[in-house]
């Protein structure tokens, strides 16, 4: 435990419309790690991400990034502390071009000028070379798979230390999925930490170093590096109903 954790979530409690959505969620991500947050739909994965991004009202607990406590800070400060987010439902700005979508996060971080953005764009294109073809198209005209790519790329153009990928493979055709997985591998190769929310155990197993299993807003078990995710007992219980 020599390295300082990149992301520390401690005893997070969140309620929305009177329903307790997250209960005592704690998780830690160290630099360079890829961590999966595994759980079924509605288990609380997306809410966890939204809480890290500062979009829920938190009843208890704390969120620290790179050692800075961001629990009560405005949402927009996340990106400056090195957190990128690719939401499940993509949430691209459909009337803007792909390039402008990617530019948006550098504006948000505010650390580079246009030529700096160009460099970052090139790096993003190294991860997903296919984007080259549709950089000038409005994001709303892309196919689902292409949109997914842009969503991840948008999180990357702010040059984050850690990216949160919410169901990155969901709804992708098998061939695209493979392309996409390669992209994620390239992100890992850059040394960027990843937290990936997955309802698909196999996908999680393919890309993550270790994982947390979340059920009904609680972390029910932690799967460490040595154990294959697909073989975990808790996973089997939840997903196969045994």
């Amino acid at each position: 435990m020599s390295q300082q954790p990149l992301l520390e979530v401690d005893d997070l409690n969140v309620t929305i419309d009177r329903a307790t959505v997250l209960e005592d969620i704690s998780l830690t991500v160290k630099p360079g790690e890829t961590v999966a947050l595994i759980g079924r739909n509605g288990a609380g994965k997306t809410t966890t991400f939204r809480s890290v991004m500062g979009q829920t009202s938190i009843q208890g607990g704390s969120i620290r990034v790179n050692g800075t406590d961001l629990t009560d800070r405005p949402s927009r400060e996340r990106i400056r502390h090195g957190v990128g987010f690719a939401p499940e439902d993509r949430r691209l700005f459909t009337t803007l071009t792909v390039e402008d979508n990617l530019r948006m996060s550098t504006w948000g971080k505010g650390d580079v000028d246009e030529s700096g953005f160009r460099d970052r764009l090139d790096r993003a294109l190294e991860i997903y070379p296919e984007m080259e073809r549709f950089l000038d198209r409005p994001a709303g005209q892309l196919s689902g798979g292409q949109q997914k790519m842009v969503t991840v790329a948008r999180a990357l153009t702010s040059e984050p230390d850690i990216v949160l990928l919410d169901e990155p493979f969901e709804g992708l055709a098998p061939s695209v999925r493979e392309q996409f997985r390669e992209g994620v591998e390239r992100i890992k190769a850059l040394g960027i930490s990843i937290v990936v929310a997955e309802s698909n155990v196999r996908h999680a197993g393919e890309i993550a170093d270790r994982g947390y299993v979340i059920e009904r807003g609680q972390i029910v078990t932690e799967i460490d590096r040595d154990e294959p995710i697909v073989d975990n007992e808790e996973i089997k219980r939840i997903f196969e109903g045994g």
Partner: protein, 302 residues
């Protein structure tokens, strides 16, 4: 219908459309981008009119140069109102962004009443007109348009409105602020998560919108009279414009302003009794059959 009167009526319609555009474009932008239904928007049109008439009437001692007068109308007054409205956005309007539309409507109706009385407090309740000496519409005289003599000043106002529309369009498609605004109109929260200070953008968009309304008021007043009734008249008209055009659409405002401008101009000329009825009838028909308006579901600039 002789061709000359066609031209004159079209010109009048265009001029009125220009004024409607100034009065309502900000209303639709603030709604589309910031999700605020600001009934008090037209009060800034009225405010611009009063500031303009007061400024022009006090400029006589300094200069009566047409260029100086027009500069004041087109640049100085909107700038002053811009600064003022930035302050207002952070104080009076800030809490309104959080509440439901119907309450926004009611609270900003309260703001209208307040602004109107502030105008009355400063400039009195009597109608004020621009003095002949500093009235650019008098100085500029007339132009020949397709064989018809029309007011050069009003042509200037139409040109400014077109420039303003083009400028706004370019702002939205070319500039950082414009692109962020478009993004905000789609997904406020995501823009926030991308690290952008949406509050700062909000202040800018709000102030630009209000400044355009004030610009409209300022340009309106040399050719008309500043009266306290201006505000209420334009509240209704600008709501008709943005409803017909589609809430949140720049193109919608332009088209709807032209439609209402022409309806009114030709309506007054040929069916004087029914001109206003046509406007409200059109508004009702649009809500009944196409509630999103002519261009309401297509984003800010599409």
């Amino acid at each position: 219908m002789p061709i000359e009167s066609l031209t004159v009526n079209a010109f009048n319609g265009l001029y009125f459309a220009a004024l409607l555009f100034f009065a309502s474009v900000g209303l639709t932008l603030v709604f589309g981008i910031l999700n605020l239904l600001n009934m008090a928007h037209a009060a800034f049109y009225g405010l611009g009119a009063y500031v303009a008439v007061w400024t022009l009437n006090n400029m006589g001692d300094v200069t009566t140069s047409t260029v100086a007068l027009l500069t004041v109308l087109v640049l100085v007054i909107p700038l002053v109102v811009f600064v003022l409205s930035a302050a207002l956005d952070k104080t009076v309007f800030a809490p309104l962004y959080e509440i439901e539309h119907v309450y926004q409507l009611l609270a900003t109706f309260g703001v209208i009443l307040m602004i109107d009385d502030i105008i009355k407090f400063i400039w009195g309740a009597s109608p004020i007109t621009v003095d002949g000496a500093t009235d650019p519409s008098r100085q500029l005289g007339t132009l020949d348009l397709l064989g018809v003599s029309v007011s050069a000043y009003r042509s200037f106002v139409i040109v400014i409105a077109i420039a303003c529309a083009v400028g706004l369009y370019l702002m939205f498609v070319k500039t950082k602020l414009g692109k962020i605004s478009q993004a905000m109109s789609e997904d406020y929260e995501m823009v926030q998560m991308l690290g952008i200070n949406v509050n700062r953008v909000r202040v800018l968009i709000f102030s630009i919108s209000v400044a355009i309304a004030a610009l409209g008021g300022a340009l309106f007043v040399p050719f008309a009279t500043a009266t306290p009734a201006v505000t209420l008249e334009y509240v209704l008209l600008s709501f008709a414009v943005i409803v017909i055009g589609g809430l949140g659409s720049l193109k919608g405002v332009i088209v709807a302003a032209l439609v209402i401008g022409m309806v009114r101009s030709f309506g007054i000329a040929y069916f004087p009794a029914l001109e206003l009825a046509i406007v409200f009838g059109l508004m009702a028909l649009v809500i009944i059959f196409k509630p999103e308006g002519l261009f309401g579901d297509e984003g800010v600039v599409e």
